[in-house]
């Protein structure tokens, strides 16, 4: 099919933009992760300078430096950061599911006229500043914060709970920040289910728990997977949450990489760390792409 020039423009403008500002930058990260760090501005020795011609380009392939990747493997800080990020993001994803499922279930089974309102209410916090929502938890979780005040006043605890500055605070932050991303796909998969299936199960003698475990839960699996991916993938590389809510012993790769980049100014190592992070999320990212998940707040 031949396309007129306005149609070509509609395609090439965003396509070209994404290649220039999404794909090409990632290629540059790969390039810099393979160069050596230097005390210069910018702080790395360039590899692959096309201006010196293709022959020189290929000659330099031999000079590629895997020093940045080797230093990642040597440095326990990086290994620990990756493992800790995967663990915290994984646990937080499970917690988010546990919080979101009853909510999404309640929303999907609410009287039809309330449902659009409930969806808007569940999604609205996503629109307000992420930074501010994380900040709000500092005042709540601190040792002398609101939560401890309330719990002590109610007589539930006598000593303040030490949550702020721990991995728990980071997980609470992730659950809170990414909750809308989990609720929406769950709600959509639950609301789409045919109520006749539950009636049929009831007619066949299934109790309410059996109906949930054998009918509702398996049918919502698609929503669970979509929601889990939309929480887990961004949470692995989270920077703001561990920085504001975590403590000095909280390790997350987004934070480690940020420090390497801005404070230590070791760009090759930071680039290599970013590439490894991308490699870690590549499989979930590919599944996400395959599922064509379009349910975002």
């Amino acid at each position: 099919m031949r396309r007129s020039w306005p149609e070509k423009l509609i395609l090439t403008a965003p396509f070209g933009w994404m290649i220039a500002l999404f794909l090409a930058p990632l290629a540059i990260v790969v390039k810099i992760s393979l160069s050596q760090s230097a005390l210069a501005q910018p702080p790395y020795t360039p590899v692959f300078d096309l201006s010196s011609g293709f022959a020189a380009f290929f000659a330099r392939v031999g000079e590629l430096s895997f020093a940045a990747y080797a230093s990642l493997a040597d440095d326990n800080l990086y290994m620990d950061s990756y493992l800790s990020s995967l663990r915290l993001a994984g646990l937080a994803t499970v917690l988010t599911l546990l919080v979101a499922y009853p909510m999404a279930y309640g929303m999907a089974r609410a009287p039809a006229r309330y449902r659009p309102f409930l969806v808007v209410m569940a999604v609205a916090p996503f629109w307000t500043s992420f930074l501010i929502r994380v900040y709000a938890w500092i005042a709540i979780l601190k040792d002398e914060g609101l939560l401890n005040h309330v719990l002590i006043a109610l007589g539930i605890i006598s000593e303040p709970l030490h949550i702020f500055g721990t991995d728990w605070a980071v997980m609470i932050g992730i659950v809170y920040s990414y909750l809308p991303f989990m609720i929406l796909p769950l709600y959509n998969s639950l609301a789409r289910q045919d109520p006749a299936l539950l009636e049929a199960a009831a007619d066949l003698g299934a109790g309410s728990l059996a109906r949930f475990w054998l009918v509702t839960a398996p049918l919502s699996l698609g929503g669970v997977i979509a929601g889990a991916l939309m929480v887990f993938i961004p949470a692995v590389g989270e920077f703001v949450i561990p920085d504001l809510l975590g403590g000095s012993d909280t390790l997350m790769i987004g934070h480690t990489m940020w420090t390497e980049f801005f404070d230590n100014r070791d760009w090759p190592t930071a680039s290599a760390a970013t590439m490894v992070l991308l490699a870690l999320i590549l499989v979930p990212l590919a599944i996400y792409d395959r599922l064509r998940i379009r349910e975002f707040p």
């Binding site: 500002l21 009853p102 064509r292």
Partner: protein, 265 residues
């Protein structure tokens, strides 16, 4: 309708929404606290708001953020709408899979990756960092969200309407401008608002792409937050939430409009 297991559902809704909104309510309430301490209520006061407006750095950063959000959302909306039409209407073109993946990935990819890669691009091309580079970064991020939002709407547009226009002699471009775009207008408007608020809120990408003189409001807030909780930040946060609530109300209006059109269509 709340019979039987209804009590459980009602409780989970109540607890869920309390969890979602309590921190925001606490934040807003304490921005009007006369006391500097977060846990002590010292009476109602708007002193932190006056302190905020007297802070020249905060005010100038707020203007920078608004300018960046206005312009980047504009670019994001045009490009995102184009991408949406391309994905919804052009079934076959080379690189379709790559294009779709590039539009989808930034929605979930950790922002540190996009931020770092953009910075390295600007350094490699020797582009001085400033307002322009932040706008480029936010436009790239925003267009993906706009594209996903508008694509759904364009796919919902009845093809027969477009075919009718073509039968009556309209060129594909005319059909697009006179039929498809007006029908997708509510989604395009809400896409703009989403891109605007995302840009206004973004901290990570702005930190990587900004230069001297282009410190955005979230960057300013972040460095203040690192020093601890303060009522001024609560006041700034409350104002930001107010702006977003306004955008959300407009978005809601656009949504209602969209549904009315769907009913008529």
């Amino acid at each position: 309708m709340w019979r039987g297991t209804g009590a459980f559902r009602l409780t989970s809704l109540l607890f869920g929404f309390a969890f979602l909104y309590a921190p925001i309510v606490v934040l807003v309430v304490y921005s009007f606290n006369a006391s500097r301490l977060v846990t002590v209520w010292g009476g109602f006061s708007t002193r932190w708001y006056s302190a905020l407006f007297a802070d020249a750095q905060i005010v100038s950063s707020a203007w920078i953020s608004l300018r960046v959000a206005f312009l980047s959302a504009l670019i994001a909306t045009v490009l995102g709408a184009c991408a949406a039409v391309a994905l919804a209407r052009f079934e076959r073109f080379s690189g379709r899979g790559l294009f779709a993946a590039m539009i989808m990935a930034p929605l979930v990819m950790p922002e540190v990756i996009t931020g770092l890669s953009l910075l390295l691009l600007f350094v490699a091309l020797d582009i001085p960092r400033g307002l322009g580079t932040v706008i480029l970064g936010h436009a790239t991020m925003g267009m993906c969200f706009v594209a996903v939002l508008v694509r759904e709407r364009v796919e919902g547009v009845d093809r027969a309407l477009e075919e009718a226009a073509m039968d009556l002699g309209a060129s594909p471009a005319q059909t697009l401008l006179r039929v498809t775009v007006p029908l997708a207008a509510p989604a395009i408007i809400s896409g703009y608002l989403l891109a605007f608020t995302l840009s206004l809120d973004d901290f990570v990408i702005a930190s990587f792409t900004s230069g001297p003189g282009s410190t955005t409001l979230p960057m300013r807030i972040f460095s203040a937050v690192r020093l601890g909780v303060s009522p001024e930040i609560n006041a700034a946060a409350t104002l930001l939430i107010g702006v977003v609530a306004l955008c959300l109300a407009l978005y809601g209006a656009a949504h209602v409009l969209m549904q009315e059109r769907t009913k008529k269509g």
